[in-house]
């Protein structure tokens, strides 16, 4: 009896935390999105669902439906985030794989090096890139010396030499990838590390080539890690607005986060900003739902 209550009490801080900082805060956003505004352009939340005013939400959805600016930024955000996820996985998977399976006695060090970027604030790392990618910056010179600059110029991903910060969509995608990569690698590392070595050996014994064993054993078993890592970095990427602001600030790289930031911070459209926030949240909720289903089915398969 006593111990049961102890456990419940231990859950209390978490419950309070979630209630105050998630549920209540989220309900406040809903109440604003379905509220109105006063003549000072300040939002007036409608707390009672029976009073909810769907006008602003309707307007915002109509804007998306009709292909106006909110659709533009939604599509652009999806493209940016998807490309950044592909890039991050392409870079992160080999790194995590190496750290988990081949680093040997250097594992501790490799892991430490992977965690190191966490010590520095995201914003600071982005600001560092501004210096690195300025026309005479070290990064720019490096990209130029190894031919990446020429490649990007020929692919039309860069408008001129040294122009990385001149409002290039690809710079934003790279910055997003760089900024969130460590958060992908860690869960991936954990998943890969958990894989029982003997299963891979069994695959090899049964005649699978190294590539075959990887494709049929390692990859499927690391899928929960891949999904967890991708979800972990996709969510903040969708809401990111300072990365495009810092490395581009061009209208060609405006993401949904920028629009929400702009609408809610200044001016007379704060309720629209809340509606947009809610729409984004619902979309992300859909993605989370898919993730949960996917991991559950992976778990089921693992148990079977």
């Amino acid at each position: 009896m006593g111990s049961r209550w102890t456990w419940r009490l231990l859950a209390l801080p978490g419950v309070i935390w979630l209630t105050v900082f998630f549920l209540l805060a989220f309900y406040a956003v809903i109440a604003v999105a379905f509220g109105n505004q006063n003549t000072l352009s300040e939002p007036v939340p409608f707390w009672n669902p029976l009073d909810w005013n769907v006008g602003y939400m309707f307007d915002t959805l109509q804007n998306i439906w009709q292909g106006d600016q909110f659709l533009t930024v939604f599509v652009r955000t999806f493209v940016f985030v998807t490309l950044a996820l592909v890039l991050a996985l392409g870079i992160g998977y080999p790194v995590a794989y190496f750290a988990a399976r081949h680093a040997g006695r250097w594992r501790g060090l490799v892991l430490l090096l992977l965690i190191l970027p966490f010590w520095i604030n995201y914003l600071m790392r982005m600001l560092a890139w501004i210096n690195l990618l300025s026309p005479d910056g070290m990064g720019t010179r490096f990209f130029s010396s190894i031919g990446i600059e020429r490649l990007f110029l020929s692919l039309n991903l860069l408008s001129e030499r040294g122009g990385w910060l001149e409002g290039q969509p690809f710079t934003v995608i790279m910055a997003l990838t760089y900024g969130y990569l460590p958060f992908l690698i860690l869960p991936l590392y954990a998943a890969l590390d958990r894989i029982d070595q003997r299963q891979i050996e069994a695959a090899r014994d049964l005649g699978a080539s190294p590539a075959g064993a990887f494709r049929r054993v390692t990859l499927p078993l690391s899928r929960p890690g891949i999904l967890a890592g991708l979800v972990l970095i996709a969510l903040p990427m969708f809401g990111d607005y300072y990365t495009p602001d810092l490395v581009s600030s061009s209208t060609k790289t405006t993401m949904i986060g920028n629009q929400i930031d702009q609408l809610t911070r200044q001016g007379s459209e704060k309720v629209v900003g809340a509606s947009l926030t809610l729409i984004l949240a619902v979309v992300l909720l859909g993605l989370m739902f898919y993730y949960l289903r996917a991991t559950r089915s992976a778990d089921d398969r693992a148990e079977a």
């Binding site: 006063n38 769907v54 629009q259």
Partner: protein, 438 residues
């Protein structure tokens, strides 16, 4: 009057009613037709009085108050529950709470004031006027002196009763030093609640060592932005909806010789300005930023819609080694452009009102205002002793930045970006959001 946002008023109740009355499953428009229209913005401003509901069929400002315009000067009332402090009150003990934009006042002058009065000063900063007003309205902190708000916020400040009226007997330097043009401004007749701090213009800042075109000599200098393909990636406009959207309006006016209304509430004109601005996305991949004072000196941008003060602070502090400030140029129109001033106010809830008056008067001192200008902010104080020619002679600023020192005679022929009605501001916000989406 059909307002395009009218359907924002439908309540869920209305929707349900509509659905019950009509056939279920009709399109959204069908639903709309059957709905009651609760309200457009509801008029319960915090701290406002009943008069806010007496709507006049003309653009009306926040809280139902009139919108000051040069042809509609407004005297804000002094109410019995909010009167100026009496004459001759001794300084309170402080600390004096100042609320200002970040980096918008020379910290060494604050120290000087502390030494002079023996009172401590506490500075808090804000990043946007909306943020400032929201914090003031929340009453969480009682600031004594509020710096940096302008005619684009005045109605909001008055409607929410966030300011206290000033006692001019403490402000001798106002009459003594400040331009007569700003002694009795139309947005606050008799300077009852505000005192001018600095003035600025909207103009073009550029690198004359990178751009050969004689921008100031062009028939319509604003056209340079639409002819800037060669400088793709190095062109930026101000990240402020009013300043940015008024730029194509000014360009239009210069081309046609018509006088623009930079405070227009005509949705078509505002939307057109947004579209014109949107052309810059393809022409030069335009950036939207307020870092001109850094990016122009570093040549990260070559052509920037700028606030006059930013060019001067760029020249004063931000030039990299070996780059002379004379590579910077600034142009602002003589007529039909934007010339505006920020002000000092004293918070209604000020705990040190007499000390606050003293601080404002201190800042209006000739030597103090001059030091704040050339040693720190770069924004011109509206003081009679400021003379661009003299600054050039002293070698403080290059000749190419003469225009960045604002002159009193610019005020009557240019316009201030003033507070709009809620509906009007929505047009600007929509156009701005569309433009920024690229």
């Amino acid at each position: 009057m059909a307002h395009p946002k009218d359907h924002k008023g439908i309540s869920r109740r209305g929707l349900l009613k509509g659905a019950a009355g009509g056939a279920l499953g009709v399109g959204a428009l069908g639903l709309l037709a059957g709905c009651e229209n609760t309200t457009t913005p509801i008029g319960d401003c915090a701290g406002g009085d009943g008069s806010s509901n007496l709507v006049v069929p003309k653009p009306v400002g926040p809280g139902g108050l009139p919108l000051p315009r040069p042809d509609n000067a407004v005297t804000w009332a002094i109410t019995s529950d909010n009167e100026p402090i009496p004459d001759g009150v001794p300084d309170e003990n402080g600390p004096l709470g100042i609320y200002n934009y970040a980096d918008y006042l020379d910290p060494s002058l604050i120290k000087k004031f502390e030494k002079l009065t023996g009172r401590q000063v506490k500075l808090a900063t804000y990043n946007s006027s909306d943020e400032a007003i929201a914090k003031l309205a929340s009453g969480a902190v009682a600031f004594d002196v509020i710096i940096g708000l302008s005619g684009s916020n005045i109605v909001n400040l008055i409607a929410q009763q966030l300011l206290q009226p000033l006692n001019h007997s403490y402000l001798g330097n106002l009459e003594k030093n400040v331009w007569p043009e700003l002694q009795d401004p139309f947005y606050d007749r008799a300077s009852r609640y505000t005192v001018p701090y600095v003035v600025w213009s909207d103009g073009i800042g550029w690198r004359n060592d990178k751009i050969a075109a004689d921008i100031a000599g062009m028939k319509v200098p604003w056209d340079i932005f639409w002819e800037s393909h060669a400088y793709t990636g190095k062109v930026a406009i101000l990240d402020d909806k009013r300043d940015a959207l008024s730029m194509p309006m000014q360009r239009d006016a210069m081309r046609t010789g018509r006088r623009p209304d930079l405070n227009t509430e005509d949705q078509k004109i505002v939307a057109q300005a947004g579209k014109d601005l949107g052309q810059l996305t393809d022409i030069c991949n335009v950036k939207v930023a307020i870092t001109d004072y850094q990016t122009l000196p570093e040549a990260k941008t070559w052509l920037h819609q700028s606030w006059s003060g930013d060019l001067l602070s760029a020249a004063f502090y931000y030039m990299p080694k070996g780059v002379p400030p004379s590579v910077l140029s600034y142009w602002a129109p003589d007529v039909n452009g934007v010339v505006q001033n920020d002000f000092f106010c004293i918070g209604k809830a000020a705990k040190n009102p007499a000390l606050a008056h003293r601080f404002v008067n201190f800042m209006l001192d000739e030597a103090v205002a001059y030091a704040n200008f050339v040693d720190f902010v770069g924004y011109t104080p509206p003081q009679t002793n400021i003379d661009a020619e003299l600054l050039i002679k002293k070698g403080l600023i290059p000749k190419s930045l003469t225009d960045a020192v604002v002159r009193p005679e610019q005020f009557p022929f240019n316009q201030e970006l003033l507070q709009l009605s809620v509906a009007g501001e929505q047009y600007w916000d929509e156009a701005w959001s569309k433009f920024k989406a690229g």
